[in-house]
């Protein structure tokens, strides 16, 4: 066997260090070149196929939020919240200042009780501005087994934010939301809010947060 050229001496697996092992069939033998070309063509084909398949199912849209934990605990499909849909219709400030959603994904603890009481999604999803809470499947539209997270174009089709671990200053959040409902700040689990049954007519501070009793929505000036 002719001394191997450095380039040809490196088999793809890199495991051919043992000199006693027989030379690979395609390494510098007659016909081996064709075999390798064929393999390369197959690789190209597979690569092209992978590209087409991977891109035809482009993945979730940038900013799609999945809320799964609580829904799954209640035997419901995860909620998919499309940012792209909502930002066409509302400025960021409406949800993130007026409605009390925190900026960090997953940092706002909410349950159906909140929504029934007209808080968070329930401010619009009441059958007047947007579909009501009885249209379960339009929000609970995620497939089973999804984790909580947010999709990012830059980090792959479904990139999970490490929500609880990241340090996040908790001062002054949810001022707009706190003004709309006299509730403990979001993030503090509120058993009364969570356990509010659907049949209970809203009263007191909850009624004040209902859309038919609109709360003044002047921007909160910062000192």
């Amino acid at each position: 066997m002719a001394p191997r050229k450095p380039f040809a001496a490196l088999p793809p697996g890199g495991k051919n260090d043992d000199p006693s092992s027989p030379p690979r069939a395609c390494a510098g033998r007659q016909g081996g070149g064709h075999a390798r070309i064929a393999a390369a063509r197959r690789a190209i084909g597979v690569g092209v196929l992978a590209c087409v398949l991977g891109l035809s199912s482009a993945g979730a849209e940038h900013g799609d939020v999945v809320r799964s934990r609580r829904a799954t605990a209640g035997n419901m499909a995860p909620v998919v919240f499309p940012h792209w849909f909502h930002r066409i219709r509302f400025q960021c400030r409406v949800c993130h200042a007026e409605l009390g959603f925190q900026m960090r994904v997953g940092a706002t603890e909410l349950g159906m009780g909140d929504l029934v009481a007209g808080r968070y999604c329930g401010r619009c999803h009441n059958g007047e501005i947007a579909w009501g809470l009885a249209s379960c499947g339009l929000c609970h539209s995620g497939r089973e087994g999804l984790p909580d997270g947010i999709a990012s174009w830059a980090f792959g089709p479904y990139f999970i934010e490490a929500v609880p671990e990241l340090p996040f200053r908790e001062t002054g959040h949810r001022e707009g939301g706190a003004a709309a409902s006299s509730e403990p700040p979001a993030g503090t689990p509120s058993p009364t809010a969570v356990a509010a049954p659907a049949s209970t007519p809203p009263s007191g501070p909850e009624a004040a947060a209902r859309p038919e009793n609109p709360v003044p929505v002047t921007p909160t000036p910062k000192p």
């Binding site: 070309i37 509302f90 400025q91 960021c92 200042a97 501005i129």
Partner: protein
């Protein structure tokens, strides 16, 4: 022969790489939006799925941009292509601010010019101040690593606003001896 084989392999590899690049570019330009039933997060068997708007239906008429939703949201807002409500009931006005902040600790990269005028038509002061950024300019030490972690600018510019891959949309101020603030 061995040399020739490696030549062919290398050439095939180059072709594959170029082919993949062209394909990615082509498909990304042609159709950046997937359909809900194929996006990997929606339940295909959900009977309500056909009632939901498809991303392409809403986003394709809007001004295009690289990355993210494939939409230049700033231009979309300024051109009137979209007119999102400033408040829940649509009434009232918003507080905007025309103040640029020049961030110069950018290493070899062009400086970052942060424009309040672009951000405040969308966001309330309280969305960023004080919990993400101190109100006083220069008091919040920001690094690209932290942004990539999802802090500071990364709270939005990782997953909702245009993504961090669009370097020159923030790093848009050539470094000079003098600078404004």
């Amino acid at each position: 022969m061995g040399r020739r084989v490696s030549f062919w392999t290398a050439r095939a590899g180059r072709h594959a790489a170029w082919g993949a690049l062209v394909l990615i570019a082509g498909v990304a330009v042609a159709a950046p939006w997937g359909r809900l039933e194929d996006d990997g997060i929606h339940d295909r068997n959900n009977p309500g799925l056909p009632m939901l708007q498809q991303p392409a239906d809403a986003l394709s008429p809007l001004p295009p941009a690289k990355g993210g939703n494939g939409v230049d949201w700033r231009v979309a807002l300024e051109s009137g292509a979209i007119s999102p409500r400033p408040t829940l009931d649509g009434a009232g006005s918003v507080k905007t601010l025309d103040l640029d902040i020049l961030m110069k600790r950018t290493g070899q990269m062009p400086w970052v010019r942060f424009s309040h005028a672009i951000h405040t038509p969308w966001l309330d002061c309280s969305n960023c101040h004080e919990q993400i950024f101190a109100t006083k300019a220069g008091e919040t030490p920001v690094s690209m690593a932290q942004i990539l972690e999802g802090r500071f600018c990364g709270v939005c510019h990782r997953s909702v606003a245009f993504p961090v891959t669009e370097c020159d949309r923030c790093h848009r101020e050539a470094q000079t001896a003098a600078g404004t603030k």
